[in-house]
Symmetry: C2
Subunit: 225 residues, 2 copies
């Protein structure tokens, strides 16, 4: 019985990590598509989101059955609860990749602003790095690393503010950039939200190790977006 | 033992519904603050968000303890899992109310556009109506109603598109509205996201009744935001 349960628990971990990699790929592709104006790649992100959604449902079902049939307590239960909760965060990160992909498809040859696209690409690289790291920290159950990763979210918010300022400026100076700059703003807000979800997963890693539910980044500061 | 468990389950329901009402009030106040340019009310929304976050942690702890100590199966477990998952949706709806409040504080006497503010107010009223209804459907465990409520999300997306079009137009015609219109776009995107979370809760109500995890609104359509 215990042996079987261990196997199921490992399987759950593996499938969660795989979901993380699917989401990471979706984010990477969606930004690549946006920056390269690649609508075919954007469509790929949208159609592949179904796989991510299915995986979330699969993880929910497995978690539920493991709780119902094996009646785990303490640490084991914590592992399962973590997967149940954090898989929602991953799924929503995937949804934001889809939103970025939709922005790419919406753009119809409007005037682009390479300087802002450069900042978006840098922001996306920083977000992708956070996602890579949080998946690694999850596998290692590294609570210290999780705290550090959550700190990096402040850097993501700095990118947001920079993109906002630049968009306002270019829209005022060159009205033909308005439609494109609105999309820059939206894409930046999706990336920022992905960073928030990474922070949520960091909180779950801490919970996994300590059993304590903590909020790592408060959104009570008025000057943040 | 069973008696105690029933009491705890009822308490869990009540506390979840209360959280829903707290979130609903936050959304209502944040939009009221935005439309009336009321920074004091916006600050109230931001500071009260802590209560919502605390309530989520409280619900998570209670759910976890109930699973660990009472080892519920089938229907009872489903109720607890629903609260665990849907409380995250509520918490994020609260976060979006905070984002709307932050937009209100950021605005520094820029040129406002009353026609667009009117559409935002209408959109907010429609979102608030959805939130009211989903909380009611949750209490009644009304799966049919949940399906209907999820359908209403399409109407919310229609508001989004209208606001987007109007913002683009006014920015191009009157560049002094650019800063304000960017905020309109952001507020509209937060409201739309709140509608998505309502749809998630609808899915959880269906799960509560049927044990099936279904996706009510696919985000695979390219023309949506």
């Amino acid at each position: 019985m215990r042996r079987l349960f261990e196997d199921e628990l490992n399987e759950l971990h593996t499938r969660f990590s795989e979901m993380g990699m699917m989401v990471n790929e979706a984010i990477y592709k969606s930004v690549k598509a946006f920056v390269n104006h690649d609508k075919a790649l954007a469509r790929e992100v949208i159609s592949e989101d179904q796989k991510i959604n299915k995986r979330e449902v699969d993880l929910e079902k497995r978690s539920f059955e493991m709780i119902a049939l094996q009646q785990p307590v303490t640490t084991d239960l914590r592992v399962i609860v973590t997967v149940m909760k954090a898989s929602s965060d991953l799924e929503r990160m995937g949804d934001h990749a889809v939103s970025i992909a939709k922005s790419t498809i919406r753009v119809k040859g409007e005037t682009r602003v390479p300087e802002i696209e450069k900042v978006i690409a840098d922001m996306a690289a920083a977000v992708k790095e956070m996602v890579d790291q949080v998946l690694d920290a999850y596998v290692r159950e590294d609570a210290d690393r999780a705290r550090e990763i959550a700190e990096e979210d402040h850097g993501i918010n700095t990118f947001s503010k920079e993109i906002y300022q630049r968009c306002i400026q270019i829209m005022q100076e060159e009205p033909e950039t308005i439609v494109g700059a609105m999309d820059y703003m939206l894409v930046s807000s999706y990336l920022e939200r992905i960073g928030d979800y990474v922070t949520n997963i960091c909180e779950w890693i801490l919970y996994l190790r300590t059993g304590k539910l903590l909020e790592l980044n408060s959104n009570a500061r008025e000057d943040d977006f």
